[in-house]
């Protein structure tokens, strides 16, 4: 076979492989959206879940999912950012650093159910936090930290070395170079890392079943005092998320419209992830453009 034919064949194989990936993705997404979207309604979004009858909504689950995402990101982002800056910029290339990196990689492939049970033992039982949003957020932080750290580290390492040299050669300290030059340049990559991990958090069920719990408490959306027991912001209340709700109505749920509810919830979950993704990218691009003056 001559080079030209080989090249054509290779190109064809690559196209086929890409096609398979796209088909699978489109199939899953299409299936979820087609079966779920027709059942989405304002009523579904704005009413409480029902325990026995048909016609329940996911108001609280949606709020809980978003709230857990925000809380987890608030807790894990500073830690991951600090760890990533250390690994990318300060850590010497020796066996300790390699050990840390390997540990992080192993942790990032930890099954989420293990994280959930660990969180149950540590936060729920040992720390006495009970089934609560804070237990869930801490478990999700454990779940999220390794991958977020690796992603941010990669983003920081992706900034060309000559940018650091330029900063240092101007008499900037190491930290000022990192903060003022390296981090802004790494922002798009850092953002991608946050978005990827946010998708994982939002869709996570196993880590939450034993930490945030599977039941909701009565929530009063007029009460925004985080210390009030009925406030949506109260971190000590148990909270069922969208993903846990899907799992529950399909396993132990006794509502007659379980199929419809789980289809609609799945669609909602996917849509929120997409909206979050696009929104974060939009804001990130805006911020990046502001920082880099690229117009």
């Amino acid at each position: 076979m001559d080079a030209k034919k080989k090249d054509k064949l290779a190109t064809a194989v690559i196209y086929i492989l890409v096609g398979i990936v796209v088909l699978i993705l489109a199939g899953i997404l299409g299936n979820i959206l087609i079966t779920g979207v027709p059942h989405l309604s304002w009523h579904f979004l704005s009413s409480e879940a029902s325990s026995y009858q048909a016609g329940g909504g996911v108001r609280d689950q949606l709020f809980n999912s978003l709230y857990l995402l925000v809380l987890t990101t608030i807790i894990s982002l500073p830690i991951a950012l600090g760890a990533a800056i250390y690994l990318a910029e300060y850590a010497k290339d020796n066996w300790i650093t390699n050990l840390i990196r390997t540990t992080i990689q192993i942790l990032s492939s930890l099954p989420s159910i293990v994280v959930g049970l660990f969180g149950y033992l540590l936060f729920v039982v040992q720390f006495g936090l009970g089934f609560s949003i804070i237990s869930g957020a801490l478990a999700l932080t454990f779940f999220n930290l390794p991958i977020l750290t690796s992603n941010i580290e990669e983003a920081i390492k992706g900034v060309p070395q000559d940018q650091r040299e330029a900063g240092l050669a101007l008499g900037l300290s190491n930290w000022k170079t990192i903060r003022g030059i390296v981090l802004p340049a790494a922002l798009p990559g850092i953002l991608t890392g946050i978005i990827l991990s946010a998708g994982r958090i939002f869709g996570e069920a196993a880590a939450l079943i034993y930490t945030a719990g599977q039941s909701g408490s009565t929530i009063n959306y007029a009460d925004w005092n985080p210390f009030s027991p009925t406030s949506p912001l109260n971190v000590m209340r148990p909270a069922e998320t969208l993903a846990v709700h899907i799992w529950k109505v399909n396993t132990e749920g006794i509502i007659p419209d379980a199929t419809i509810v789980s289809a609609a919830t799945s669609a909602l979950l996917v849509i929120v992830v997409i909206v979050f993704n696009l929104g974060a990218r939009y804001l990130g691009n805006k911020l990046y453009r502001k920082l880099t003056a690229a117009k």
């Binding site: 050669a169 101007l170 008499g171 030059i181 880099t292 003056a293 690229a294």
Partner: protein, 265 residues
């Protein structure tokens, strides 16, 4: 080989003319690989000195030692005298030193920020906030780097939209903004086309009246065009250092002559 590394001539200057000098500067990478051996060179005020030599001859290593950019990657032994201080001592504030000895790199490396911000970023980080003062420095620096007329209407546009040659002159302007006395240039034109290179050379020639410049170059014509003095490095040793005219027309060392004639390197 040993004979080839013999020093043929190293020029010296009167003490009052000196801007910067090194004594027995040696550089070791990883504690064992020696890249530079006992380099003792003196640099005269308001001149351009070219450092020439084949790849791996130690000229870039030497240059990067002068503003302590090698601190984190190598061990630098010896003395670097600047303003009556041995600035290679550990107690020297390297950040202050680098403001006095600026550097321009091989590839243009503007920050992904606006043109203005590229120039004032280091000043702002240092606590300068007076906007009028900063604007003045932006104009002065860009004028000095012969870039002002080309960019004065787009100071707030991204520096990355400039051409390679303009980016490199921006990097010079950025280095000048912190008011250095010495400018180290590490093959500053190697990534530029001939037109941009010639503009850059004109800029450097104009800067000579105010700054002392030390420039690594692989381009013999460039060295002979713009430098006053030339040091020839070979395998980590300074072989010959003299006025550029002498080095190029009347080299004292056999190996210097061979290199200049293009027999190797």
């Amino acid at each position: 080989m040993q004979q080839e590394l013999k020093q043929s001539y190293v020029k010296t200057f009167a003490k009052d003319d000196l801007e910067l000098s090194t004594k027995d500067l040696s550089v070791l990478y990883g504690g064992k690989v020696q890249k530079l051996f006992d380099a003792s060179l003196q640099f005269k005020k308001n001149t351009i000195t070219a450092l020439i030599g084949a790849s791996g001859s130690g000229k870039s290593t030497f240059l990067r030692s002068l503003n302590r950019m090698n601190d984190r990657v190598a061990t630098v032994n010896g003395e670097i005298w600047f303003h009556g201080l041995d600035v290679n001592k550990p107690n020297i504030n390297v950040y202050e030193l680098r403001k006095n000895i600026g550097m321009v790199f091989q590839r243009p490396n503007p920050f992904p920020k606006s043109i203005r911000e590229n120039i004032v970023y280091a000043l702002k980080a240092d606590g300068q906030t007076n906007k009028n003062e900063l604007d003045k420095i932006v104009e002065e620096s860009l004028r000095a780097a012969a870039l002002w007329d080309e960019v004065k209407d787009k100071l707030d546009k991204s520096a990355l939209a400039l051409s390679g040659g303009q980016q490199q002159r921006l990097c010079i302007a950025r280095a000048l903004a912190v008011k250095p006395e010495v400018l180290l240039l590490d093959e500053p034109a190697s990534a530029l086309d001939p037109v941009s290179t010639s503009k850059l050379e004109d800029t450097l020639k104009q800067l000579r009246s105010k700054y002392t410049m030390i420039m690594v170059t692989h381009n013999m014509q460039q060295a002979s065009r713009i430098s006053d003095y030339t040091a020839f490095f070979h395998l980590g040793h300074v072989i010959e250092y003299n006025s550029t005219a002498d080095i190029f027309t009347n080299p004292k060392g056999k190996i210097t002559e061979e290199y200049i004639q293009g027999s190797f390197g």
